[in-house]
Amino acid sequence: MVERADYDAILTLIPSGCRVLDLGCGEGELMELLRECKDCRVSGLEIDKDLARAAASRGLSVLEADIDEGLKDFPDNSFDVVVLSQTLQVTRRPHLVLREMLRVGSVAIVSTPNFAQWEVRLQILFKGRMPITKILPYSWYETPNIHMVTVRDFRKFCRNEGISIEKEIFLGLGRRKVLFWPNLFARTAIFSLRKIAHRESQ
């Protein structure tokens, strides 16, 4: 199981009482936290039948659906916040998912493993093998992570896509916050994103 230390950080980025969509919500742990602690109205998408059923069995509004497909049925701006926690790297078309997130929500929160973290770099550099770490625990042939990204890649990607990064939180070893050189030290990077408005509206 991937470490979900990022929940606490994500919670700090979400205001109370808003409408939240959690993409790849699993059994709905984050959804439940948001509902209990933040009084949010939360929906979720989960592709795995058993996980989706487990979440619905807890009374959570979870749809058994594929993120790559299932977002299109939500109208524009139907959520205040759309969360993608440890899931960006498993989607087939991450750039489209991000675009869709910022269509259906005004804020997108993305948490993702950082592939440039030093443990990963060292394994490739010295062992010459695909890295296996605490948050990237899979062998190359069975990993669901098909689109790994680094902090620098993601920042550049946002610039190109016209997405502004409102806030970044980096978590290193033992959930500690990383305050400098995040691309080297962060295991997990959490970004709060907004679309850059091309023109001032009204």
């Binding site: 929906s43 619905a56 069995s57 807890r58 009374g59 509004s61 058994e64 049925d73």
Partner: protein, 390 residues
């Protein structure tokens, strides 16, 4: 996890009695969608559990085509069979009798105590037969709402049902948005498909082609049993799946060896004959015509220019939509269609497509995870209604 399957009901709570209410007051007129009026009318219903003081613990259950008000338990210790959703009702089960108050009424047009074509027409003193007005899903739901008024219940905690029961759930959520905290439509559709209408029509033709049907004028007990049994045999096939038929019967014979005749030789034939015959002993042929017609007419989108989004735009309940992977009569895609429209209108909705080999009838069977899903979901709705401290 499946404790609900193993809890045996204690002695003495295993029985239930059907109750009846006749609406015959001057204002108790059921104005039907067809424009006709039905008055007076009777509803047969059963209840399980106790209505609490706040009157907020009612689960309104809607039955399917061949169902009735008898959801659970037995009417008498001598009954062979328990109610049609017995596994769901009882202490610790999803419809927990320690917490909730379950109500289920036989639909208008039915033949199990509610006013239908086999009831006596006050105008003629004879059974209605085809003089009974055409009823719709909406009319059925109107009847249920009247029953809830009669029981003094403003708002149900949950409306739930499978197949035609699911249609009623959807119709309820649209027509009475303030009267259900949550809605659980199971294995249903927002409008009956061409395939569904087609099978219904074959069933109706089987009945009306039986000389004993006699234009709907037959004596109770001497009706078009051959036609009704045939309708049920066809219907029953559509409720199962290729896989479940194959695994249950395969090509097994009920005789020693092939007789090179047209006798009943395969077990599946014998099973269908039995299903057909058993049905004629408990169901009325005219009711079969009326209720299948009501299902054919069901189209939530009709009043909204074909738009399901518009039809559902006023719903206020939270939804749990459930379909089954092997259901080819109401395929999962039809449930997904409902879910998409609910997403579009911003409703709170959960959706599960349950793995099951049993076809449309899955909702009546013990599909792993199904009882836990409904039970768990209801617990959460109950927590929401009562605040966190239960």
């Amino acid at each position: 996890m499946n404790q609900s399957d193993t809890i045996a009901l204690p002695e003495g709570v295993g029985l239930v009695k059907t109750q009846y209410v006749t609406f015959d007051g001057p204002r108790d007129v059921l104005c039907l969608e067809s424009g006709e009026k039905l008055a007076p009318f009777t509803l047969a219903y059963e209840t399980y559990g106790t209505l609490n003081d706040r009157k907020n613990n009612t689960i309104l259950i809607f039955h399917a085509l061949s169902g009735d008000a008898h959801v659970a338990r037995k009417h008498s210790p001598r009954d062979d069979k328990r109610g049609w959703w017995d596994s769901m009702v009882g202490p610790g089960r999803p419809f927990d009798t320690d917490k909730f108050y379950m109500v289920c009424a036989n639909v208008i047009g039915g033949c199990k105590g509610s006013t239908g074509p086999s009831a006596i027409n006050p105008a003629s003193g004879k059974p209605f037969g085809l003089d009974f007005p055409i009823i719709t899903i909406r009319d059925m739901v109107k009847g249920h709402a009247q029953l809830l008024d009669y029981l003094g219940i403003e708002k149900a905690l949950c409306v739930v049902g499978g197949s035609m029961g699911g249609m009623q759930v959807l119709q309820w959520a649209v027509d009475y948005p303030e009267r259900a905290v949550c809605a659980i439509p199971i294995a249903c559709s927002a409008r009956l498909s061409a395939q569904g209408i087609a099978f219904n029509e074959v069933g109706r033709r089987a009945i009306t082609s039986d000389p004993k049907w006699n234009g709907g004028k037959y004596v109770n007990g001497d009706g078009p049993d051959v036609g009704l049994a045939l309708a049920r045999m066809i219907g029953h096939i559509t409720y199962l799946s290729e896989e479940s038929l194959q695994s249950k019967f395969g090509r097994r014979l009920k005789v020693e060896k092939l007789g090179y005749s047209f006798q009943t030789e395969f077990q599946v034939e014998s099973y269908l004959h039995h299903q057909g015959l058993a049905f004629t002993k408990r169901f009325d042929a005219n009711t079969y015509l009326y209720i299948t017609k009501a299902m054919d007419y069901f189209d939530l989108t009709e009043a909204h220019g074909g738009s399901l989004i518009k039809a559902l735009s006023g719903v206020k309940s939270r939804f749990l939509v459930i379909s089954f992977t092997s259901d080819w009569l109401y395929p999962s895609a039809e449930s997904r269609h409902i879910v998409k429209a609910l997403q579009a209108v911003g409703a709170e909705v959960a959706y599960c497509d349950m793995d099951s080999p049993f076809g449309h009838d899955s909702f009546l069977l013990d599909v792993p995870g199904f009882t836990d899903l409904i039970g768990g979901y209801l617990q959460d709705v109950w927590r929401e209604v009562n605040g966190n401290g239960e």
